[in-house]
Symmetry: C2
Subunit: 138 residues, 2 copies
Amino acid sequence: MFASTSRPELIPIGVVESPLTDMASAPKQGYEGAPDAWLVFEPAVLEGLEGLRAGDQVILLTWLDRARRDVLRVHPRDDVRNPMQGVFNTRSADRPNPIGLHQVEIVEIDAPRMRVRNLEAVDGTPVLDVKPVIRQTP
Amino acid sequence: MFASTSRPELIPIGVVESPLTDMASAPKQGYEGAPDAWLVFEPAVLEGLEGLRAGDQVILLTWLDRARRDVLRVHPRDDVRNPMQGVFNTRSADRPNPIGLHQVEIVEIDAPRMRVRNLEAVDGTPVLDVKPVIRQTP
């Protein structure tokens, strides 16, 4: 399924199933009252989940496919009272490469499905990657 | 330069300039003795940097263009004494979508260049995104 290539083309490894369907009404950040969601992984990548367990904190990367890529300045949090900022100084979904970063807790794994806590991504959002949270130990 | 499209194709917004040239000898994580590096941004995205300042902590997303995308299980930290794990339970560069996540401090901005502290990405690595570190305030 995956070619060993360095071309910057993304391959969705799964998709978000969520009760959130509308970006405008979704929370801006997961800790702001977002619901649980399911991630449904492609059969071809299931081996890559080996070792992950309920209770683990992971960083989920998604492709925010409803975002605008031609925007470089925004009012943070879509609030016109906030002065315009460069998108790289905000967490706006609108940006040249709309990759979403979400720290979530794994609640349950029932391959190819994984339930996670507090995910603000909307239903149908493609999943790009899962990484463990690193704790720096000196 | 940027079309308003949702196709999952990445557009490098800049490139890493670093004394690190060899992945094998680069530190695994930035806090493990990585050097300072320069990010050189594309002129078309400079407006997006507005508001960022020296001293800010940011999350840098890169495209790890030397990674293998057809690998789903690895020995963590390339050490065969570590039992094989799914790549999504590791920070291995080898994974279906080799996006690097790096938390760095901005040391100096001299547009289109930005110097950052402790970056383990090697010279020539494409830059995809910069996001501020969020501090959760209840």
